[in-house]
Symmetry: D2
Subunit: 143 residues, 4 copies
């Protein structure tokens, strides 16, 4: 398990270019936020799909790190996004992740994405992470 502070420090170090901020980690979930600027918009003033995917991916990663500790090699293996409503152009996107399963090799979670201050999600994501095998102590020494 890792605290919000540990996860925040790790995300800052490992994903220095991310615009996502960790708000909360724990209890099998996480909340992250990301400010939206002009370069994140599509014509018509909607937030681009890849930006939403990026927020969901970080929310999943953060929730997983909170649960299993700092495991830098966990990688996304699949992700399904449903776009539900037009996001506001001038509000942060909030990603609220709830882990559905954390197994030995796979973790699955869902993320609801909101324009800050609204209660109906703009998109919903289900994603899967692959967790690298944890080496037993002697094997780590042997490496």
């Amino acid at each position: 398990m890792a605290t919000t502070e540990e996860v925040t420090a790790f995300i800052s170090a490992e994903l220095p270019q991310t615009k996502c901020v960790v708000r909360e980690v724990g209890n099998g979930g996480a909340t992250v936020s990301r400010e939206i600027g002009p370069s994140d918009l599509r014509p018509g003033g909607t937030v681009s799909g890849p930006v939403l995917v990026g927020v969901a991916d970080v929310a999943l990663y953060v929730a997983l790190l909170g649960e299993i500790g700092i495991v830098p090699l966990a990688v996304t293996t699949s992700l399904t996004i449903n776009f539900l409503r037009k996001p506001a152009a001038n509000k942060s996107i909030i990603g609220v992740c709830k882990l559905l399963k954390v197994g030995k090799v796979l973790a699955v979670g869902e993320v609801s994405l909101y324009s800050e201050g609204t209660s109906e999600p703009v998109a919903h994501v289900v994603g899967t992470y692959s967790i690298p095998p944890r080496a037993p102590a002697t094997a780590v020494v042997a490496r």
Copy 2:
């Protein structure tokens, strides 16, 4: 909107061979259950994937009917299932659906599937329904 009784009657008439029972409909969601028998199992005693998909699909349909009224032509357009834990061989499968969006032409919902009496889901589904265009004004009057 349709009540639990109206939806139950409709499901019995339209899907006479379904083994799913409607437990509750309303508030943008639904709960259905399905008894599991030997023919629903795979070797190893796990409930087959298609059975789980079937329960989720009915839960989505029931929740949607509860929201938009009896619309027999709504059809599933896509469905994503993540298998999370081994279901019990001798317990009913419970599907709890929450609609994420009900638009004019598309509805999206998620379903958590449980072995009855357990609190961790055995599978999670996100599905999309296509809603047929509502009849023009004269037909509406006819209702």
Copy 3:
């Protein structure tokens, strides 16, 4: 790797109740077929979604066995289906699987489903299988 005959024998033994028949295995793919009867239909004469999911799941499993050999513990971890066209009520469903990746712990494949004799797919599936760790030789002996 396993031949069509080996996979057919294994499927008959492990999934005795399946209605799917293996037509071809190899080259990173597989073709299976399944006869459709009255109990597989939904009102309106369309093949039920769970039946289509079942055919796709077997096609993926068969293709995977063809590639990695007979590994009975491989299990589906996720599956996404898009329903494209109404299947014929009186034609077999053909599932044509192409594996996209066979890794050490995960395999991913896509399946196009057809009503026999037609060239446009009735549904498209992407599915993921989890592959159990292969025991080293001594461990196999120990079993």
Copy 4:
């Protein structure tokens, strides 16, 4: 239907900030490419997931425009991505889209994503677009 030139001109006008280049449109599909730079990478030298999603989304949109003509209001409704292999850090990403269905209200397509010059896909996407109702001629005049 729209030609490669028409689609290219439209994409340049509607998505001026996209880094995707249309290579080919037609026959129910499309090929797009996108150069990869340092800001597109994640630690470890892999192309970030949202960049891959973005290429797939443009490939789907371009293929759809090629098929139904210039319809600016088509929007992505869902997208499933499976990450298959680590993309090269210094090669363009190529997205090859094949439409599976173009209906009146929904289109479905799949996209294989490659690092340029390699034959095994780095990711696979299935996406759905919602097509706005085409206004009859008089209604267009009335607008």
